[in-house]
Symmetry: C2
Subunit: 226 residues, 2 copies
DNA sequence: TCAAAAGTGTTAATAGTACACCCATGA
DNA sequence: TCATGGGTGTACTATTAACACTTTTGA
């Protein structure tokens, strides 16, 4: 019964990745200064076309891997952008995903080859097509999800100080937090575990390093910082 | 520079609508008992293929209108379902939307022609493809959005009693609420306005009818029932 | 007269917020 | 010795949760 389908048109379908990183106390996005057509020379998200042999989710994973070399990254679908003229070249329906990566883990060489750069999220250049809209939706969604899920740890190194964790959440929520209240709340989370290791890079005195225990989270599961 | 696009495959893209209604104190979905191919005789969501001359969002609006006759309905994109084999006939990438409609407003004749029926959300039949997954995601998203946005009024008639409103929110949240606390919270919302009209259908004594004032909401904008 | 839904306040518990000083260390 | 970030507790305020009886009226 292929006739049922045949009367309908087909479309190019792409994926675009909003790649978040946290570095030097700031949220950043990994963006391409395109050294390829179309829109060469302009800034864009990393993207690619969905292929026959992969699901849309898998296409997003592949595209992220092509740029960063990373697998098993936390990714979430942001939404599908389907305006007729969104890509001036041809009609393309694009599915946006956001990804949270640790900035000390990605493949420098791949990123360099793609001419990609980390840009502070409050200092974004102009971007092609509807990529700004994708980013603002992604940011909104990520912030919303971060409110009651411990997804922020995907942006922190394996071992982190409480100051790093606080400045991450300040960056995500866009507001300052009280140090004592913040630490009080973290102290109630059994899945944020204090190690006996000390980080000396951030201060002279040194700060205890903590780690996130995902298994411990699934059992008790309460996360709320605001 | 069409060569850039040409090397990539194209796909059928469809939309599927999860249509919520609130009737007789229960949340319901408008589902098709398919009287057309493929999967004739089975239950499914209302769907359709995206066409060349419409955006994906517009396709969803069109499909909803084809079934209900309604325009300007509250709709939200739920997500895109892109597994390779999700439709056993052909590869189709589908974008799911949920819609909130007032059950006293839709076009009975159109619904009858499509062989569609209102089914209580806790008594759903088995559905084709990944439609159950679409529904559970839609329900989750709707519940989440209903937590701090006054979207529930899209499901209530223009005039409603506080008992109706409470039972709606009990259905959405899936939990019983305290009548006095509920009314206290509603009383703080200036955008829920008491009229001087009384509904006598629900009780012998009669209950005051209220209405939702969208303009008043946009100005003050706080909504929180839980 | 009675069944059935409408309507109405107070109190206790909990959660959230504001706030300031000492500590340890390397330069 | 001093500048820098690390670390800690308490009192107040706001929010949320628990709870029971009276009213109206049609059948």
């Amino acid at each position: 019964m292929t006739t049922y389908y045949n009367i309908n048109p087909k479309f190019y379908v792409s994926v675009d990745c909003i790649i978040f990183g946290f570095d030097e106390g700031e949220l950043k996005l990994l963006l391409l200064k395109r050294n390829f057509a179309p829109a060469m020379g302009e800034w864009s998200l990393m993207g690619g076309f969905v292929q026959q042999d992969e699901s849309v989710d898998d296409a997003a994973k592949r595209v992220l891997r092509e740029l960063t070399g990373l697998e098993n990254v936390y990714m979430q679908q942001v939404g599908t952008f389907g305006e007729i003229e969104r890509d001036p070249g041809e009609r393309v329906i694009s599915v946006a995903y956001y990804a949270l990566i640790k900035v000390d883990e990605y493949d420098r060489k791949l990123v360099e080859e793609h001419n990609a750069f980390w840009i502070k999220i409050d200092e974004l250049p102009s971007l092609i097509f509807d990529h700004p809209e994708m980013i603002s939706k992604a940011r909104e969604l990520m912030k919303h999800q971060a409110l009651d899920n411990p997804i922020g740890f995907n942006l922190l190194p394996e071992l982190f100080t409480l100051s790093q964790m606080q400045s991450l959440y300040e960056a995500i929520y866009g507001e300052q937090m009280d140090k004592r209240n913040f630490r009080k709340r973290v102290a109630t989370m059994e899945f944020v575990e204090k190690t006996d290791q000390i980080d000396k890079t951030g201060s002279k005195r040194g700060a205890f390093l903590y780690k996130y225990n995902d298994k411990a989270y699934r059992q008790d599961s309460k996360f709320k910082l605001v």
